[in-house]
């Protein structure tokens, strides 16, 4: 027999506050599990239905005001998120149901607040303080509670056995199903959930959709329906104002140090790192100067943050004196295991500095520093592409694999790519050398090796038909040249540097 009960939800600290509580991914989730268990294994007995006690109690609250955007200062989604934060004082498991409802799992909080009535009173007082109209209902399943709340019925059903009875009187509109389905049901003369429940399942499934049957099962606790818990977005954000305006970058760097220190502390406490930061510099008149920086890998080390920020600031020309600044982190991400620097917070130094050289000690740090100063596009890697056309046989890569790599195995002489050697330098565009072989030889070239015929690429319109040679110049330089087969012209394509 499969194990029953529900898996406890692990709050995902790092998920960006999701706006919709409907679960799209597997975990983390609150899994409601209350399907009647059928006992088997005793053949002489008729199958007995054991109804488990509800393990969950959901409090659903619908805010009709949120449907009227003109009455709101902020968009409904962000208002809901703020309400979620407020609701988290009652239970850690709060889920958003767009567009205007919240679902609170309150089973675990009843004991804390003394009784269900006391808990209800506390929650309702919270909505009252916000002067928001709220319709609330409580039921063992989230969907049933939501339907009750949408119908404006302040019901409190504690036993899942009473669910069907409690939902029977609700109008079908409270399901918020597809209007076409509701229209079909109304055409069939069905206006209440109770009437719907009396219909055969196969019929509902055929006329509406299997999803409708599933919804009913979920509402009646016959089917588990995991929901995603709301997780507040965690970011570091701190500002500081200067007593006097700062005009030079050097002082700015000094003033930034405590902010970075606090940011690193904030990240360490959460065992998390960031991959991007934004520094806003406020001026008296002109708009805020924003310095954005991306890091090659997730980090929480102060030294790296300082290094990269310093590099950016050194390149910055202050348009006006700075009155204050704000440091904002990007979204927090879990630190990759093993990258925690036990001594990151100690030492107090500004990194290893010797003779003006900032000694970074890992490849990501180096790449970051180079990119911070030279630009993202200026630092790249190259890869080999198996392709006959020389210009298509390689490609730049900007996403570098910066994690330590171990050589797979000893390779004696590298891989054999082609018949002829390839040059170290490849020109961006082939350069026309001569109109025919005679002219080429008059220039002093001697064809040492070749030809290697390359004829390929008819499928993408960049087809080539060339004969490649290695040509030694009169005084020793070696070039990679080719003859265009249609025009018979000779081109320089690479150099054996």
């Amino acid at each position: 027999m499969k194990s029953r009960g529900w898996k406890s939800a692990t709050a995902d600290l790092f998920a960006d506050g999701s706006t919709d509580g409907r679960l799209t991914e597997a975990l983390p989730a609150i899994v409601a599990e209350a399907r009647p268990a059928i006992l088997r294994g005793v053949p002489q007995l008729a199958p007995a239905v054991v109804r488990p006690r509800p393990k969950q109690l959901w409090y659903a609250v619908v805010f009709p005001d949120l449907m009227e955007p003109q009455r709101l200062a902020a968009p409904a989604a962000s208002t809901l998120q703020r309400l979620c934060l407020c609701a988290q004082q009652f239970t850690p498991l709060v889920s958003i149901e767009m567009p205007n409802a919240l679902l609170l799992e309150i089973k675990g909080s009843v004991k804390l607040f003394g009784s269900l009535a006391a808990l209800h009173a506390a929650i309702e007082a919270a909505w009252g303080r916000l002067s928001l109209r709220a319709h609330a209902a409580t039921a063992p399943t989230a969907l049933a509670a939501l339907w009750l709340a949408r119908a404006g019925k302040p019901a409190c059903i504690e036993d899942s056995g009473q669910l069907a009875g409690g939902l029977a009187e609700l109008p079908i509109a409270c399901t918020s199903w597809d209007p076409a389905w509701l229209q079909t049901l109304r055409a069939m003369g069905i206006t209440r959930i109770g009437e719907l429940l009396r219909l055969p399942r196969a019929g509902i499934s055929r006329r509406l959709s299997p999803a409708a049957v599933l919804d009913l099962d979920i509402a009646l606790a016959r089917q588990a329906a995991p929901r995603r818990a709301f997780v507040p977005r965690v970011r570091f954000r701190e500002r500081c104002d200067f007593e006097t305006e700062i005009e030079t970058v050097v002082y700015l760097q000094k003033a930034l140090e405590p902010l970075i220190e606090r940011c690193a502390q904030f990240l360490r406490e959460r065992q998390a790192g960031v991959q991007s930061l934004e520094l806003g510099l406020r001026h008296r008149v002109i708009p805020v100067t924003r310095v954005r920086l991306g890091l090659a890998t997730i980090t929480s080390e102060r030294r790296r943050l300082t290094d990269v920020l310093d590099e950016k600031l050194n390149r910055l020309e202050l348009a006006a004196p700075v009155r204050g600044m704000e440091l904002k982190s990007g979204s927090l991400q879990p630190l990759p295991a093993g990258s925690l620097d036990a001594f990151a917070g100690m030492g107090g130094g500004r990194g290893l500095r010797a003779g003006g050289v900032c000694a970074g000690n890992t490849a990501p740090q180096l790449v970051e520093r180079l990119r911070a100063r030279l630009g993202e596009q200026a630092v790249y890697g190259v890869v080999f592409v198996p392709e006959h056309r020389p210009e298509a046989a390689w490609r730049r890569v900007h996403e570098l694999r910066l994690t330590p790599a171990v050589r797979a195995g000893e390779r004696a002489g590298g891989m054999r790519v082609s018949e002829m050697r390839r040059p170290v330098w490849l020109l961006d565009e082939p350069v026309l050398l001569a109109a025919n072989l005679q002219h080429l030889c008059q220039e002093g070239s001697i064809l040492e090796q070749g030809p290697e015929r390359i004829e390929s690429g008819w499928w993408d319109g960049k087809d080539v038909a060339r004969d490649y040679y290695i040509a030694r110049q009169a005084r020793g330089a070696r070039w990679w040249v080719f003859q265009q087969r249609q025009t018979r012209c000779w081109y320089l394509h690479g150099m054996f540097a």
Binding site: Y380, G381, R395, A405, E410, M415, R478
Partner: protein, 207 residues
């Protein structure tokens, strides 16, 4: 003044010691004629090598490719990085793969100016994660070269600077200076300055 005092002076440099026991590891050039002429028998690491070029295409990069492949084949696990700064053309991946360079550990840097290039080279050399840093420059002053040398010593990397031949008569802090010119038929290689060795032309055939 006793002989011992003179020898203790940092400015006095003992040729015998330098050639007998190189304190730093060297990477073989892959050419025995050249190895024989270099103190320690190969390219010195943790120092700056300067290559003066008449033109590109003389096999100047190929001169270092065996050493670059070797230094990526360290036995102790991690593959170190190679950084090429401001190369005159695109490094052609198939050719490098053929030689055995680990392309996933090759970084190409294209700075906007010479100062940026020097800064990038200094960063890469001193970082300690790069086995070799190759830098192409049109011209630079002595002060910057000294900084590069210090950075190479700090990071233990092989630093190679390619410059046009016209800088030949300028002083340079590089511990090894090579001159590559076009000869009558073949490339000519000459050691202009060898710390702990003897300058002069080297028999050389571009492969």
């Amino acid at each position: 003044m006793a002989l011992a005092d003179i020898l203790a002076d940092a400015r006095v440099w003992k040729l015998k010691d330098a050639s007998a026991a190189p304190s730093r590891p060297v990477w073989s050039t892959g050419r025995s004629a050249l190895d024989a002429r270099l103190p320690g028998g190969g390219w010195p690491t943790a120092s700056l090598i300067e290559v003066l070029l008449e033109t590109t295409g003389l096999g100047e990069v190929q001169l270092f490719l065996p050493a670059l492949v070797k230094c990526q084949q360290r036995i102790d696990g991690e593959v170190p990085w190679l950084v090429w700064i401001a190369p005159p053309h695109e490094p052609y991946a198939p050719a490098l793969a053929e030689y055995g360079i680990e392309l996933s550990r090759l970084l190409v840097v294209r700075p906007a100016s010479a100062t940026e290039a020097l800064w990038a080279a200094e960063q890469a050399l001193s970082s300690g994660v790069c086995a070799a840093v190759l830098l192409w420059l049109q011209g630079t002053d002595d002060r910057w070269l000294r900084r590069l040398k210090l950075a190479a010593e700090a990071g233990g990397a092989l630093g190679v600077l390619f410059r046009p031949e016209r800088h030949r008569f300028e002083s340079s802090p590089a511990s090894l200076r090579l001159l590559m010119t076009q000869g009558e038929h073949e490339t000519q290689l000459e050691l202009v300055k060898v710390q702990g060795g003897r300058p002069g032309p080297v028999e050389f055939r571009a492969s």
